[in-house]
């Protein structure tokens, strides 16, 4: 769900990167949902050419996706197909994180990979030929160096093929809708409503086989070039067998000329998610447990089907041990120590054990981290008594009467409702009144509704992130105007900028915790 300040924040980013015109089109789509070209023109009162150019920029930079909605008429009167454009909020807010992605690649791969990725992030999407041309004109590097870096990034899944330009989306039939609702009611499936944005992205995504596939013209290797574990290269002969790939040889164009590549945001977010989980473990456990935990993530990362995976693939104790001793810091850890660390990690239950195998409970770790973030806000904003009350209500998960809250938190009976009201007024608690008997004062019952609170806190975070960016812009303007000030004032200005920028980074980590993880 996109919140009000989420939209403001996203539009602010687009304005900073692409200017007011493109931002206007983007804002129109964010506020009004998917629209046809004509509808955007009417709504923004821009010319058709201005809107088209803006859309091209936004599509190039993966901020908008075109799609065709196949609307079969209710009375069977032929399918209507119209191209619509949807803003990809989840992609837009990633634009702030590009420096984090580059840092990650610089740590895991090499300088050439960083430069190649930088080009992809700057331009949104490039063909391999465009990457070669860029490297030649910029860093004066040969094609083979670029291709080597490209393959490294591809093998690590940091880059991927671009999605289809206009996938067709069909509305579910009435029968399909009814069947899904019946199954959800009986508890057979968890009803997870996919947003339209998610459906469009899924429809546009290349198949898993194709997404990281790089067709080369090299001779087949001794094993037929079929390293299924991580190599994405196949020979031309192999490529022709794939039904999903158009035969480029027929048109005379090679893959390097027509296939567009872009940064694979999912993989970066997955790495950042893992990093956040490791930091959470580090805050609670000793170094040994951190190493064991990190090894489990390393061993199971490539098996994760989606970013928001709830549990890692189960691993046996010996598999975990094998992974632990691969790293330098894990080399001295004994088998027993690994076992002991796994027991440690079960309380709180970050790692679950079942049938002699262990898996990481990502959902639990992320939830705990989210609770800590919200509780920190409550503590700082409303004080320690409020903190205890909030934790009581959050942990209990059901309605509690005012006096019960007062008793459990050791707060005076008269002060308790005042604090609870403050939390309720700011949407941190829900209140229900229970009237028993006509003459008696109604009982007040309080509750934390975690799902609505999460949305509310996320909106506050977007608001704060928006405020920070406004303040940074203001401070930069001030700096320009006062460019001849004394040295000591300049140092103060630098300190201000560092504080603001580090706060932005930290807040963005929290936004990822609530929105992306």
């Amino acid at each position: 769900m996109v919140t009000q300040y989420g939209i403001k924040y996203a539009v602010n980013l687009i304005t900073a990167h692409f200017g007011d015109l493109v931002a206007k089109v983007c804002e129109c789509l964010l506020r009004r949902g998917p629209l046809t070209l004509q509808a955007i023109v009417r709504s923004t009162e821009l010319t058709s050419s201005q809107v088209k150019n803006s859309l091209l920029v936004l599509i190039q930079h993966n901020c908008v996706q075109a799609f065709i909605l196949d609307q079969t008429g209710e009375h069977g009167d032929g399918a209507k197909q119209s191209t619509q454009y949807i803003a990809l909020f989840d992609n837009i807010i990633q634009r702030w994180r590009f420096p984090k992605f580059l840092t990650m690649v610089s740590k895991k791969l090499d300088k050439q990979c960083v430069e190649l990725l930088e080009g992809l992030l700057q331009h949104g999407r490039l063909t391999l030929k465009q990457m070669f041309d860029r490297a030649r004109s910029g860093q004066n590097e040969g094609d083979d160096v670029v291709q080597e870096a490209f393959v490294k990034l591809l093998n690590a899944h940091f880059i991927e093929r671009c999605p289809a330009s206009e996938p067709v989306l069909t509305n579910p039939t009435k029968e399909e809708e009814a069947a899904r609702k019946r199954a959800a009611k009986s508890g057979k499936i968890l009803e997870v409503q996919e947003t339209l944005e998610q459906r469009v992205v899924e429809a546009a995504m290349p198949t898993e086989a194709l997404r990281f596939l790089f067709a080369t013209e090299t001779e087949p290797t001794a094993d037929g070039g079929k390293d299924k574990s991580n190599s994405s290269s196949v020979t031309l002969g192999e490529k022709r067998k794939h039904d999903a790939i158009e035969s480029k040889a027929e048109s005379g164009a090679t893959d390097e000329q027509v296939v567009l590549w872009r940064a694979n945001i999912d993989e970066f977010i997955r790495h950042l998610r893992h990093k956040a989980c490791i930091e959470n473990v580090r805050a609670r456990f000793d170094d040994g447990a951190v190493i064991v935990f990190g090894a489990m993530l390393e061993a199971t990362r490539s098996a994760e089907k989606k970013v928001k995976t709830e549990n890692s693939v189960p691993l046996s104790l010996s598999s975990i041990y094998e992974e632990v001793i691969k790293s330098e810091e894990g080399r001295n850890i004994t088998f027993d120590r690994v076992r002991a660390s796994l027991v440690q990690l079960s309380c709180p239950p970050f790692v679950k054990a079942a049938n002699e195998s262990y898996s990481v409970d990502f959902k639990k770790i992320i939830e705990l981290a989210q609770h800590e973030e919200v509780e920190s806000i409550v503590l700082k904003r409303y004080g320690r008594d409020a903190y205890r009350m909030f934790r009581l209500l959050s942990n209990s998960g059901h309605l509690l009467e005012t006096d019960k809250v007062a008793d459990a938190t050791f707060v005076e009976k008269k002060e308790t409702p005042i604090i609870l009201y403050k939390l309720w007024k700011d949407d941190y608690l829900q209140l229900e009144k229970l009237q028993i008997g006509v003459k008696q004062t109604p009982f007040q019952l309080w509750k934390v509704n975690k799902s609505t609170l999460k949305v509310h806190v996320l909106d506050e975070m977007f608001h704060a992130a928006f405020n920070l960016s406004q303040r940074v812009a203001f401070e930069l303007e001030q700096e320009k105007e006062l460019s001849n000030v004394l040295q000591d004032k300049r140092v103060n200005r630098l300190r201000k900028r560092l504080l603001l920028e580090s706060s932005q980074m930290k807040l963005d980590d929290a936004i990822m915790l609530f929105h992306d993880f």
Binding site: R284, C347, S376, R381, M461, A464, R471, F474, R495
Partner: protein, 230 residues
């Protein structure tokens, strides 16, 4: 809850008819007592007359004034033969109608230290440890220990876990609730400061009214100004 009584019910012959009526109303409330305002709601007598009756009954030791934690400003009266219930005194944690916060804080810290020493502790273990060390002159019931420990959980000083029967839980039956110190910080340390809480917007009471061009904005914000003062 059984009302506590000191001596059999008696009425002095020297009370007036109005005093008798007022006394009967107060007596009917047993160990919960009643305020003057509520007496007026129950019987149709003028406030001044009720006040006069109350004063007379107190001087004759037929009723007494007690503290009620639910309404500290209003006086509360009870028939002399009853002891005030926990519901109006607040129980063990209240003194003179107010929470004994100092006492509670001392007990909290002591419980935390016992849990820290034991590494993993059940409620019985904590209660025993406190009894043996005789820190508190007053004996704590198991329920009172539980209330204190649960308050420590709410403070995030301690976490509640279930015994697995193995490892550090070896001596504790499987499934039994036990307690461990939370995190790596000592007692009383602040929990880690979250990202939103560490910037002015996170603690601002006016965040919902803040807009880029409004009276309250990030450019004009006084909290930002103080935060960025070097």
């Amino acid at each position: 809850m059984n009302a506590k009584r000191k001596r059999p019910d008696t009425i002095s012959d020297s009370v007036t008819e109005q005093e008798r009526i007022v006394h009967e109303v107060i007596q009917s409330k047993q160990d919960m007592g009643i305020s003057q305002q509520d007496i007026k709601r129950e019987i149709n007598l003028h406030s001044n007359l009720i006040a006069k009756c109350i004063k007379s009954l107190v001087s004759k030791n037929l009723i007494k004034e007690v503290k009620n934690i639910h309404s500290r400003r209003q006086k509360h009266y009870m028939s002399a033969e009853f002891e005030p219930s926990n519901e109006i005194t607040g129980g063990a944690w209240y003194v003179e109608g107010s929470l004994d916060k100092e006492y509670i804080n001392v007990l909290k810290e002591q419980c935390w230290r016992k849990i820290y020493g034991l590494k993993v502790a059940t409620l019985e273990g904590i209660a025993d440890a406190i009894k043996r060390s005789n820190v508190s002159q007053i004996e704590l019931s198991k329920q009172q220990v539980e209330e204190i420990v649960k308050a420590l959980v709410l403070d995030n000083e301690v976490m509640e876990v279930r015994s697995t029967g193995t490892g550090e839980f070896a001596s504790i039956p499987v499934g039994k609730a036990c307690y461990k110190c939370a995190g790596k910080r000592g007692y009383g340390g602040e929990p880690k400061l979250g990202a939103l809480a560490s910037i002015p917007c996170g603690v601002c009471p006016q965040i919902s009214r803040c807009t880029p061009d409004g009276m309250i904005s990030p450019i004009t914000c006084e909290y930002y100004k103080k935060w960025l003062e070097f």
